[in-house]
Symmetry: C2
Subunit: 341 residues, 2 copies
């Protein structure tokens, strides 16, 4: 009890919660006493009495199913930073999105843990079942990089379409005309945007897209390798491959090496995400840098504002959103196209 220290009792509560109506003198007294006793309010008591848990849940795909755990790491970094700043705790909640029972599981999570809000990251940020479960509870939530229905909730995103457009243009400007694109599951919202950006850039530069030069990957290294091998088996193979993420791009590089092709001399490769694998490939990968941690920070901030503000009541006005900037990172896996045959 820090109350012993100063002179008051409930005043302590007021001070620690930055409530008004406390004279500066008292406020100081309390603050000093708290420091002296190394005092810190009991979270459980606070939650119980105030009906707030100071807990935020981060929902993501079970990482044992995820080809790029890297993304989650950066999301955690960003979310944790903001949580610490505002005195919240982050609860990790991996889910198997395709479990037919997710809806119940999420409901149970909400009931059990009493979280104050939730953050959804891809591909969970496009799960209708999960969003329905949350909406039924009335809790606030934010989505990172949503694919459809962006205005269903507050969200943070970057322009994947434009980024893919820019990367494609980068390759076109290097003189490439036959460019292979490795797409991913289109239920992953951003994957769709990246494909569109590629197609638009090609169209606007009057370069036809040969259908066999669009491969279906699944974000794994192996799929990138398989698609690239198929490309290289074509009568006229591409001079560049643009993969919708870095893992698949790494697979493309591996496929080239396997055939004895030099990168970027014989085949150029570019990726997307600027994940840690981009630094591991040889040559280092040209890719699109996504500000993942920053996106998570922004999302967490959006959520906390919402938690602190109107507690779950949708008062008509539009949901807020925040767009962050990407950056094309040119490294050594792309170079000018070989002279025409």
């Amino acid at each position: 009890m820090a109350r012993r220290a100063g002179v008051s009792i409930k005043t302590v509560s007021r001070v620690l919660n930055n409530e008004p109506n406390v004279r500066p003198v008292k406020r100081q007294q309390v603050l000093e006493a708290a420091r002296a006793l190394n005092y810190s309010p009991n979270i459980s008591a606070r939650s119980l009495a105030g009906d707030k848990s100071f807990l935020i849940a981060l929902l993501y795909r079970d990482p044992s199913l995820d080809p790029s755990p890297n993304y989650i790491s950066y999301v955690q970094i960003g979310a944790l930073a903001k949580c610490r700043q505002y005195g919240f705790y982050l609860l990790l909640e991996p889910y198997d999105m395709h479990d037919p029972d997710v809806e119940n599981e999420v409901q149970r999570l909400i009931i059990r843990s009493r979280v104050d809000g939730l953050i959804l990251i891809p591909p969970i940020s496009d799960s209708d079942a999960i969003m329905r479960a949350i909406e039924a509870s009335g809790l606030p939530y934010v989505r990172i990089a949503p694919g459809d229905e962006p205005d269903r909730a507050p969200h943070v995103f970057m322009d994947d379409r434009q980024a893919a457009y820019d990367m494609t243009e980068h390759l076109l400007k290097l003189g490439h005309r036959r460019i292979g694109f490795i797409k991913a599951h289109l239920d992953h919202g951003a994957a769709q945007f990246r494909l569109e950006g590629f197609q638009t850039a090609m169209a606007e530069h009057n370069v036809p897209v040969d259908p066999p030069l669009v491969g279906q990957g699944d974000f794994t290294v192996e799929s990138g390798m398989r698609c690239t091998e198929a490309f290289l088996d074509l009568p006229t193979p591409p001079t560049a491959v643009f993969a919708a993420n870095d893992e698949m791009a790494a697979g493309a590089i591996a496929a080239a090496h396997k055939r004895g092709l030099a990168v970027p001399a014989d085949l150029c490769v570019s990726g997307f995400d600027d994940s840690s694998v981009a630094a591991v490939t040889w040559p280092p990968l040209t890719t699109v840098h996504q500000p993942i941690a920053e996106m998570a920070e922004a999302a967490t901030e959006l959520l906390i504002e919402r938690i602190k503000g109107h507690k779950s009541d949708e008062t008509g006005d539009r949901f807020p959103s925040r767009q962050l900037d990407y950056r094309i990172v040119v490294r050594d896996s792309t170079a000018t196209a070989p002279a025409e045959a």
Copy 2:
């Protein structure tokens, strides 16, 4: 209130906590009522009354400083699995180990969050300052892969020394005699063991270790590349490089590619960890598989037992520990040594 349902009030508590002295009939009634009302006890109330938080903190190095976020991902997977199983929640606590103020920070964490126990992973599992802070609080904690003083607390580990020995032997059996080793900061406990395993294997096979063939890396791709380039600049370069982790091994492969050397024909490379980068390199990396998630599961279990058992009193007897098995994974980056010159 599920109490409405059955007939009792405190009985509910007994049932939900698996306490004895409840007739099966009543127990059933309560359980059914709970299900019907989708009831779940309020964690805050429970913590407040019972002086338990059901929270476990995972302490790790700030991932923005960490060259291999992969390790943390797997630790999280394992720890989360066990937490869910036993009804605990996992709190993420990244720390900058070299911050002179960590001791206070940890103390503050313990006071503020009221965690019931802590898990320390490398390199934090060897931080004397952090362990002191925890010990001062009397809370139970477990260490994963400790370097020194293993018996200071319950711990989970694998035999890094023997694993490195085996990998070295694998290379020796392939006919390699000049083998470069890339070590890492020796304050990282396991790093020391890996070096020792390498040295022992070489000695026992009567193959001298040429000092310039032991490079000082720091777990990053870049350092692996730098060390390997130095090796290759020697009058008699090695025919194989064994790096103390996969990132550095990836750097070794990159260095070879950069010089136009083929892997494994001109230079063999092996790593340690079997992290996700091992699947991204070309050729795929021969490495030591560490059961990281399983180690984390075991550690979490050890901790929870301790939390449930004697609450923080060290009753004389030795701390428990658990050793898990590694596995040498031979992929395509190692092959028989070129014939003698």
